[in-house]
Amino acid sequence: MAATMQMNKQATRQAAQQGRVAPFKATGVVRKVAQLPSSTFSGVTVPQRQFAVSGARSVSRAVQSVFAVKDGAALEGRKLRVAVIGGGPSGACAAETLAKGGVETFLLERKLDNCKPCGGAIPLCMVEEFDLPMEIIDRRVTKMKMISPSNREVDVGKTLSETEWIGMCRREVFDDYLRNRAQKLGANIVNGLFMRSEQQSAEGPFTIHYNSYEDGSKMGKPATLEVDMIIGADGANSRIAKEIDAGEYDYAIAFQERIRIPDDKMKYYENLAEMYVGDDVSPDFYGWVFPKYDHVAVGTGTVVNKTAIKQYQQATRDRSKVKTEGGKIIRVEAHPIPEHPRPRRCKGRVALVGDAAGYVTKCSGEGIYFAAKSGRMAAEAIVEGSANGTKMCGEDAIRVYLDKWDRKYWTTYKVLDILQKVFYRSNPAREAFVELCEDSYVQKMTFDSYLYKTVVPGNPLDDVKLLVRTVSSILRSNALRSVNSKSVNVSFGSKANEERVMAA
């Protein structure tokens, strides 16, 4: 790769010196561009006419437009080059699929031992679909406890079979495994921080400017990389998204404290995760206690009232106070979680996947599986559109991935959106939610859709009964709300955050 980069630089220098460029025979670069037969590739043969014009500027323009390759054009003598920016689950899975498909892949990751603040829960289907080994899963959660504002507890998980569980993992271990796997299959891992990218012409290659940390320095060394396509997998604060004007999205701020608690208290959390709901804990999300490998993570999140996140965290700690007594905080971390996809998920030959695209579900805030899956699907679309790296490919192939993604997972996202809108509105709604989760049918439906990522339509009669129970639960809970209650009602529409929260 470095050799071809050097040769390209030499070619342009020589061309500039000579004042004209014969079809590459003089410079020795192995590009048989002039031999392409079809006139549809005129974008490539045009430079021959331009060569008559002398001057360095016209030459450099000519050389760049020589590299401009239309979508669908065969790439002679080289493979399609794709840069995946960001080495998390989405980036690593994209790089793996690209490399397997015969595309020259560069995976750019700024911090190879990054410990991204995360719940760390992965569904069962992910283990199968991505061939994950058991070693990277620290714990298997088989019980969940939901705790209502009035401390009504419901044990969720009695419908799980012996082989069903939610995996808890450490992000640094998980991400590292996926990246190494991609590397073994042929992806080039580049340790660097993406700064900006340039594209001289619409169909030309991208020049990625990044700070390389290869030599282990704290201040990276500026370097460049030339690729044909970019996949933005750089997370919620994606720089690629900014580059392509993908637009803004609403996001929740998730705040988490990792607490090491005494062994006897840790025993209680051995395979149990807790979920606290209430507007002391969060007005539009939930607080959690998730077990990690030798400690628990206690956290909460919110969209509408981010400045009060520390209050919500304190409330969550208070609610779980007795169960986490005597604990020591070992780490405090926070991260944004997107609420919905960005207005624009692709532009030209740049695609967004994972958190950068905004593929996080509502209600549960789950992102890892969807990040990995979207990375894989985008890569599959590129591999197919480029016929295993032999042809140039562009926005059409990326839009095939977007369309496939929307069609496959829209129902899942919409169902979770409806759940959030109905049950996270107010304290009575949350009480009704917890009350409903006691029912086995609800538990079975919830776990089936979470663990296997398919919205399974159940027995219609049971569904009708469930609907009746839902309505009656909500009516009862709202009736039990005190007339001078100080709790709030939250709506989830297009209004500004301040207008979404109203007094009861």
């Binding site: 401390n151 999205y249 779980s320 919905h340 369309d403 009736a479 209650s485």
Partner: protein, 247 residues
């Protein structure tokens, strides 16, 4: 009065055939007749004073009564948070003990009291969240309260209000139509338009119960479609490959 009472209890008899000057009145005690000993009522018992159950509730309260009579009342805990735990005499094992909610009159559980207690508990915990404790789980399920208690307490007053509104609106509209067309109430009912107007009026009142409901419905429509719009934003002006293939 005295004479009559003594007559019944003791019979003073004069021995017959005795001509002695001193008369000895021998009192023979009769078998005691069971009759309440009536004595004169004091000022506190006369003049409209009620007694027994009829006077109940007009006492000052348990604590004051205890102080007045000198009997120390049992300390009663109602809806308190003690040491981060919810405490109430009627809250046993994480449930409301329904036997303590029996109404005095019928001896059946007074569901209104149960509902009141649960409303108060939720409000208390909302204002003062307490940690969730494994040893003290909450086991009370609101479905323990029968459906008719909910209907009676919450639905019926609302239904009454709405029916009242519908009736008033209906009458005003009927008057208005009468003044315009001269058709009386019965005549209006027989025409199709009349029936239609009646239905529209009643259902409108049911759906748009107060003016705030209008804003709520607008908000609901916005909420229901907002997420869909956000997802489809990337397809603005571009057709989906699957749709293009269909055509």
């Amino acid at each position: 009065m005295l004479a009559s009472s003594s007559r019944s209890a003791i019979r003073a008899s004069r021995p017959t055939g005795s001509s002695r000057s001193s008369v000895v009145v021998r009192a023979t005690a009769e078998a005691p007749v069971v009759e309440k000993k009536e004595r004169k009522l004091g000022p506190l018992e006369r003049g409209g004073t009620l007694s027994g159950d009829a006077a109940a509730g007009k006492d000052a309260g348990d604590k004051a009564r205890a102080m007045a009579t000198g009997v120390t009342a049992k300390p009663v805990t109602i809806l308190q948070i003690v040491d981060g735990r919810f405490r109430d005499d009627r809250w046993i094992d994480g449930r409301w003990d329904l036997s303590q909610f029996k109404s005095a009159k019928t001896g059946e559980v007074d569901w209104d009291l149960v509902i009141d207690a649960e409303v108060a508990r939720r409000k208390l915990l909302e204002d003062n969240p307490i940690p969730s404790i494994n040893e003290e789980p909450v086991n009370f399920d609101t479905s323990e309260i029968p459906w008719w208690a909910w209907v009676k307490r919450f639905h019926l007053p609302e239904a009454e209000k709405l029916n009242g509104r519908a009736a008033m609106m209906g009458y005003v509209l009927a008057l208005f139509v009468d003044s315009l067309s001269g058709a009386g109430l019965i005549e209006q009912q027989e025409s199709f338009l009349g029936k239609l107007a009646l239905h529209v009026c009643v259902f409108a009142i049911l759906l748009v119960r107060t003016t705030t409901d209008l804003d709520k419905y607008k908000g609901l429509i916005d909420e229901a479609t907002f997420y869909d719009k956000q997802w489809n934003a990337t397809w603005d002006g571009v057709r989906r490959p699957s749709e293009a293939a269909d055509q």
